[in-house]
Amino acid sequence: MSKRILIVEDDRVLRRACEVGLRKRGYEVVSPADGQEGLELATSERFDLVLLDMLMPRLSGLEVLRELRRRDYDVPVLVLSNSSRPGDRLDAEALGAAGYMVKASLSLDHLAGLVTELTNRPSTAATTEDAR
């Protein structure tokens, strides 16, 4: 059975590219367009990985992360942002994100590699790499 990925991304084009790119690689993808919807889906359905944008209407990525952490969410969350503000990265990691990538510097192949890695490792080890 294929892995299920939740893509929370407000930019239509990025959402579509990401969706198609991962579906082609055999993942099942659900992609809400804002943080509120993303949070509801993440907590009501079972996923193997959550890809989370930072700057979004209604509920920002950080707020989603904060809420997920409050509920002891155990699915790895990979933050995909376009902000390279060091503070954002630190905040995301402090809230238990499994990784923080700048979308513009990420190719779809690279992203797919990360997704494979994160969906195949046990969820408890999600934050070891990002200690720095």
């Binding site: 930019d11 700057l55 376009n82 190719s107």
Partner: protein, 871 residues
């Protein structure tokens, strides 16, 4: 739309088609055109007519010949059948008349001719056997003898001239000689003979034998000559006249149709062109008129609106003005006024309008002014309008102070400016009065003068107190070091008594450090002062001093004064010496202390001022901090906004490139697009990095790292690029750890930048070297290449933002001039430097960057610039 006035023939030509241009330039064109069409149609009609005649003639000839041949054949067949009958007679095949008659009647029946007959004659033309058709008319005997002779002598049948067997019945007669003597004459009605043959023909036809028309059928058309052909018959010649039906039926022939149609077409086209041209001309004229009219109306509306606006604005300005504004005609009658005039004068409009302005002015003022003017001008000036406007000239208003009278009789001072109004020729038309109420100004002036005076008096008093005091008074401000501790006190104020005690003039003391001025006092005074400032408590102590060999005593009272102290220093030597003077002294002391208190209040106030100033300076720096934060937020926002669409482009292009069935051409386009997007992303990243570095908001985390390892990693990663250019990468000193304190990611960016530059600007097959060496407290990373190098002129500006050397610009156009600038920024943040060194052999280039090694005194002063140490 532009006004039609501006439409030149050129622009009209440009707008119209070529045809319209032609029409306008040559008005004769429609007529010429019509005439040409008429001429052409006449020519065409003639040609059609000629062709028709020719074709008709050919047809007539062809058909005539055909009819002739048919006729000749019929006649020949008849002749032959009778010749055979005559033959059979001659050979005696008919034994009896009845036998012959039966055969002959069969012949006659076959002919279906009631007028037919066959008769036999002997050589003397006596009647022999005969067979007669149903009409019972025998063949006429005319010309029988001639036929007998001709037939017998020729030995063949002859056709006899036609005769009428009955009225209108022309006969064809054949005389055939009978062998062994005799003549057979067969007679037939020509009509009966030919009608069956030609009953279907529509053509007109005539058969003419000699001069007689022996057969005619149909009508001949008028104006056409019939075709003619001859039929050679035995012994005679007949003619056939033949005319087919006319080529066109009815009144209207094709040429006429063509002609009439051409005429109509020509004239109507000509007329239409003319009408169209006239209509276009008229439309253009109307359009032009309308446009002119519209623009005039628009202009007038605009002017009216502007005028209304201007008037409203002027009215508004006048009414909102706080000064009285009046206009007067040349006789001095008030014509207009503003609200302020009503308000300040307390008069209703009808008490102002039409009045003389003299009623507004205090009569005493007016009288005084009139008197003064009389003196000045040397003539009698009445205290009326003239006293007000005597000095006013066009372009030179007269401004002076007057007293105006309110309706309730109170008076108020005004500054009145009277200007002359003139018409266009410079003739005086009236005056404008502008009067500002200056009562409040006067009041303020008074207050200010009083305040200044009291301040001056206070100062004088203070100075005289200070100057006359026997107590030395010194005020000083704390000079603090960076840790906030007090290093010294700067003397702010010294009074004459203190001057005397300190043995120096105030000018030599003020601004100096207390400690520096009095060294060697084992700092007791200084320490006491520091304590006063720190504890904010007044200190009162006695101090012994030695001057010119004599021992003396001073009593010092030090009180905190802002961030400093005020001290009163009193020489108490005499008290110490003479207790008797004590009482008096105490009185003096108490007086002095009061004075000091007074002074210290002033000093305290000054110190508070200083504190406030310092707080303001602090607030300023907080402002700056906020601005920096806003900038950082902006950079972060811009980075998101720029990168999101770029990432979208990049990912979609990757998806497109994944499609399996792309043509190689399309694939290369997409690949190029993706590379462009990558380059754009790189540029945005560089710009953002620089913005952050420049804004001082980048967070570097310097920590101990191995510079050699960082360089090894960088070298490993560029290996494929080097190989693809067939270049050689030499590394040196990367095996020994070189501990440095840097932010690893930033340092890596520096090395990557330098290596990528070296690869880019070194030709294929060249050599690139990467070395790490240790030099005292610094570690150096050196990147060398055998490439195009840096021209001498460019070296000074190499690390500036956006700078690109000339040879680099020629080589490729993609660079941004940001790479080395960013390298410099990063290194400065890390407490390091970068510089360029020409290589010993003069080729290629060498970049050296240095960073502090671990354990060295790390200096992160960002003011240090990465300049070369040696030239």
């Amino acid at each position: 739309m532009p006004p039609a006035d501006h439409e030149t023939p050129e622009t009209r030509d440009a707008r119209d088609g070529a045809f319209r241009r032609l029409l306008r330039r040559y008005p004769i064109v429609p007529v010429a055109f019509a005439l040409t069409v008429v001429g052409l149609s006449i020519g065409l009609a003639r040609a059609v007519e000629r062709t028709e005649h020719r074709l008709w003639r050919e047809r007539v000839e062809r058909e005539t010949a055909g009819r002739r041949d048919e006729l000749a054949t019929v006649l020949r067949l008849w002749s032959e059948s009778y010749v055979r009958l005559a033959d059979r007679l001659g050979r005696g095949l008919y034994p009896t008349e009845a036998a012959w008659q039966a055969d002959a009647l069969a012949h006659l029946r076959d002919s279906r001719d009631p007028y037919a007959s066959i008769q036999l004659f002997d050589e003397r033309l006596r009647d022999g056997w005969s067979a007669v058709g149903s009409a019972g008319i025998p063949a006429p005997r005319d010309g029988l003898a001639t036929a007998m002779v001709e037939a017998r002598s020729a030995g063949r049948p002859v056709v006899m001239p036609p005769v009428q067997a009955a009225p209108g019945i022309w006969t064809f007669r054949l005389a055939a000689p009978i062998p062994n003597g005799g003549l057979l004459v067969a007679s037939h009605s020509i009509t009966a003979m030919l009608d069956p043959l030609f009953e279907r023909t529509l053509h007109g036809m005539r058969l003419v034998a000699g001069d007689e028309v022996v057969y005619h059928k149909g009508a001949f058309p008028v104006g056409f000559a019939p075709g003619e052909a001859t039929i050679e018959l035995p012994g005679t010649t007949w003619r056939v006249l033949m005319a087919p039906e006319p080529p066109s039926t009815g009144m209207v022939s094709l040429p006429i149709v063509v002609l009439v149609f051409g005429l109509l077409l020509g004239s109507s086209l000509g007329g239409a062109v003319y009408l169209a041209r006239t209509a276009a001309e008229r439309a253009r004229r109307e359009e032009r008129t309308n446009a002119t009219l519209a623009s005039e109306i628009a202009e007038r509306t605009r002017i009216e609106a502007a005028l209304r606006d201007t008037m409203a604005v002027q009215r508004g300005i006048l009414d909102s003005a706080s000064c009285i504004i009046l206009s007067l005609d040349r006789d001095g009658t008030i014509r207009t006024f503003n609200r302020a005039a009503e308000r300040l004068l307390g008069r209703s409009p009808d008490q102002i309008l039409g009045q003389s302005p003299c009623s507004l002015v205090d009569p005493d003022d007016l009288a005084a002014r009139a008197a003064a003017l009389s003196d000045e001008l040397g003539r009698q000036v009445e205290p009326g309008l003239e006293a007000l406007v005597a000095l006013v000239e066009p372009g030179r208003p007269d401004t002076r102070e007057w007293t105006f009278v309110h309706a309730d009789g109170t008076r108020f001072p005004v500054e009145l400016s009277i200007s002359a109004m003139t018409d266009a020729t410079g003739v005086l038309t009236g005056y404008v009065w502008i009067a500002a109420d200056i009562s409040s100004r006067r009041h303020a002036d008074l207050l200010r003068r009083w305040a200044e005076e009291s301040l001056r008096r206070t100062e004088e008093l203070l100075h005289s107190v200070l100057d006359s005091a026997a107590t030395g008074i010194v005020a000083a401000r704390a000079i603090r070091n960076d840790e906030g501790g007090i290093d010294d006190f700067e003397i702010l104020l010294v009074n004459p008594a203190a001057e005397q005690m300190l043995g120096a003039a105030a000018s030599a003391l003020v601004g100096l450090g207390l400690r520096r001025r009095f060294p060697g006092d084992d700092d007791a005074v200084f320490r006491a002062c520091v304590e006063v400032v720190d504890t904010r408590r007044v200190a009162d102590y006695e101090q012994q001093y030695v001057r010119e060999g004599r021992i003396g005593w001073v009593r010092v009272i030090a009180a905190p004064l802002g961030d400093g102290i005020a001290m009163s220093v009193e020489d108490i030597t005499r008290r110490k010496q003479a207790e008797a003077d004590l009482a008096q002294y105490v009185t003096d002391l108490e007086r002095s202390r009061d004075q000091i208190h007074e002074q210290s209040v002033v000093l305290q106030w000054q110190a508070e001022e200083l504190t406030r100033a310092r707080d303001e300076a602090l607030a300023g720096s907080r402002e700056m901090e906020r601005a920096l934060k806003i900038q950082a937020d902006f950079v972060s926002f811009a980075s998101h906004q720029l990168r999101t669409p770029l990432a979208g482009i990049k990912w979609l292009l990757e998806l497109a490139l994944d499609e399996p069935d792309l043509s190689p051409e399309l694939r290369s386009y997409l690949e190029d697009s993706r590379q462009s997007a990558d380059r754009l992303i790189g540029l945005v990243n560089d710009l953002l990095d620089i913005a952050r570095l420049e804004g001082g908001r980048v967070s570097l985390s310097p920590a101990p790292h191995d510079l050699a390892a960082i360089c090894r990693e960088a070298a490993r990663e560029v290996e494929p690029n080097v190989a693809s250019r067939r270049q050689t990468l030499r590394v040196d000193g990367l095996d020994t750890p070189v501990p440095v304190v840097v932010d690893a990611a930033m340092m890596r960016q520096v090395v990557d930048n330098l290596l990528s530059n070296a690869i880019k600007y070194t030709p294929d097959g060249g050599t690139i070297a990467l070395r790490v060496v240790r030099d005292g407290p610094e570690a150096r990373c050196i990147v060398e290449d055998t490439g195009i190098g840096v021209p001498e002129a460019a070296r000074a500006r190499l690390f500036e933002k956006f700078f690109r050397a000339e040879n680099v610009q020629k080589l490729e156009t993609e660079g941004t001039g940001l790479g080395l600038f960013m390298v410099r920024l990063i290194l400065e943040k890390l407490g390091g430097r970068i510089w360029y060194e020409p290589r010993e052999d003069g080729t290629g280039s060498r970049f050296v960057c240095s960073v502090p090694v671990e354990g060295a005194d790390v200096e992160t002063d960002t003011d240090r610039r990465g300049r070369p140490r040696a030239a």
